[in-house]
């Protein structure tokens, strides 16, 4: 069995998906998805709804176990049949959900500290200090004692980001983190994610925020019907006249937004 230290070199991707496939209820949701994510890289998944972006992200941390293929974190394959290994793996992969999924019965501080205490076994005091530092990082130190019901959508998502960051993840998975937000709240969440990207956090993100993607993504993966059909840098895929499916899809997204406004 390879150990992370022995395998990880500067050339090894931090996260590698090898031929991931998933069938749910007789329907092929994902087929033959492979990708390498290097340290500090931001990959953005784009595609129509039902393309499998969400399922793919949930396969990566085994919330939906893939039927086929392997997931390697720092070169090491996860054996999901061993519970303790699976739980340890998930601690290293942070996940941000579309609808936040904060714990409704805990205030913002406890939402961030509970995993530190229960999963990491930190003392109440140490966990609270760490949680406060993470809330400060997302600009919510002054909201620490408020409950999810008392926070705005943007604030909830920032607490969710703080909660994931507190576990010191090696990779973050973000499943359309701004699509459940009112338009005026999108900016505050994107600003936090942008700071993470600039700080060198490795991220895989499903998103339709094209300006954000254009500015920060290292690679765009365009998915349709469970497969990656195009991949490349934003400059390649979104260049005017490039004729790619990605460019076509994004121009239609933009038209839609103009109609709305």
């Amino acid at each position: 069995m390879a150990t992370p230290e022995s395998v990880t070199t500067s050339g090894t991707p931090i996260l590698r998906l090898e031929n991931i496939g998933k069938t749910l209820g007789g329907k092929r949701i994902l087929s033959d998805i492979s990708m390498d994510v290097d340290k500090g890289e931001l990959k953005v998944l784009i595609g129509p709804s039902g393309a499998g972006k969400s399922t793919l992200l949930q396969c990566i941390n085994y919330l939906i176990p893939p039927d086929e293929g392997h997931i390697r974190l720092e070169g090491r394959v996860v054996d999901a049949s061993r519970k303790s290994e699976l739980y340890a793996f998930r601690q290293q992969v942070g996940m941000i959900f579309q609808d936040f999924n904060l714990f409704d019965h805990l205030d913002a501080l406890s939402n961030v500290s509970i995993a530190l205490r229960k999963v990491r076994g930190m003392s109440r005091k140490a966990a609270a200090e760490r949680a406060m530092a993470e809330l400060e990082r997302v600009g919510l130190a002054n909201r620490a004692t408020l409950y999810p019901a008392q926070l705005s959508g943007g604030q909830k998502q920032r607490v969710a980001i703080a909660r994931a960051l507190a576990m010191d993840p090696k990779v973050m998975l973000l499943d359309e983190p701004t699509s459940a937000l009112d338009p005026e709240l999108v900016g505050e969440v994107l600003a936090v994610i942008r700071d993470l990207a600039r700080g060198g956090m490795t991220m895989v993100m499903a998103s339709h925020q094209m300006d954000f993607t254009r500015a920060l993504a290292h690679e765009i993966l365009f998915m349709e019907r469970g497969s990656i059909i195009e991949r490349g840098s934003p400059a390649e895929l979104l260049a005017p006249g490039s004729g790619t499916r990605t460019a076509d899809f994004c121009s239609r997204l933009t038209d839609l937004c103009e109609e709305c406004s």
């Binding site: 992969v93 904060l102 714990f103 409704d104 509970i114 999963v119 409950y147």
Partner: protein
């Protein structure tokens, strides 16, 4: 019609004795009925398939058979297979079994109302299934089930009167004895009614205090 001497000399002393017996029936039945109800409710939602089947069958049985019939079986039926229960023990056991079945239904509903997303979030953070249950699901489910389980305790206070049928002489039993001896049914049972109303009022007040104590913004009504 209301004869103060009769009330003071006869009604209050015997009903007070009955009241004490009623309290001794109600309190353990409420506590263990709630405890087992929570456990059975959790098993019905998160247990292995065979455990779910057993717990569902239990609930169907004890919710589906009249409590009085259950008490008759416990008290008059079990001796046939060599199990002899005191009237008090048979009553408490019957109440616990019945109340746990009803409470499990309230708890099941509360558990199902917890958004799946929160379970995914806990798993994504590395929580085990058991840790998710204990730290995330149960604290929320208990709050959501509290009004329903409180209602069950109010019911329990009143159906505890069935204990006198299997000769555990509590409040209603004492009243029946006294009324039969004196033929003053109206006075005796009006006072019994007032006693039960008092018990239910105290229980409601306590339950309200508990709800307030555990209140969290976003769960049920806002704090007054």
């Amino acid at each position: 019609m209301f004869d103060v001497d009769f009330l003071v000399d006869r009604v209050f002393p015997s009903l007070n004795a009955g009241l004490w017996m009623s309290v001794k029936l109600i309190v353990p039945s409420a506590v263990f009925g709630l405890l087992f109800g929570v456990i059975i409710g959790i098993v019905r939602v998160f247990g292995k398939p065979w455990m779910q089947r057993v717990a569902n069958a239990y609930t169907a049985l004890f919710r589906g058979v009249p409590l009085l019939v259950q008490l008759f079986i416990l008290y008059f039926g079990l001796p046939n297979i060599g199990i002899y229960l005191e009237p008090y023990a048979a009553s408490v056991l019957g109440f616990i079994l019945c109340s746990a079945a009803y409470n499990s239904e309230y708890v099941r509903g509360a558990l199902l109302s917890i958004r799946q997303g929160q379970l995914s979030a806990a798993q994504a953070l590395g929580f085990s299934t058991m840790q998710t249950l204990i730290s995330i699901v149960v604290p929320q489910a208990v709050r959501r089930a509290l009004p329903g389980c409180g209602n069950e305790i109010v019911y329990l206070i009143k159906y505890s009167s069935l204990a006198y049928v299997i000769t555990c002489i509590e409040l209603t039993g004492e009243a029946k004895v006294l009324a039969s001896r004196t033929f003053r049914f109206t006075e005796v049972f009006l006072v019994v009614g007032a006693y039960y109303l008092f018990l239910v009022t105290v229980a409601s007040w306590l339950l309200h205090k508990v709800e307030e104590r555990f209140h969290i913004p976003g769960f049920g009504r806002p704090r007054q």
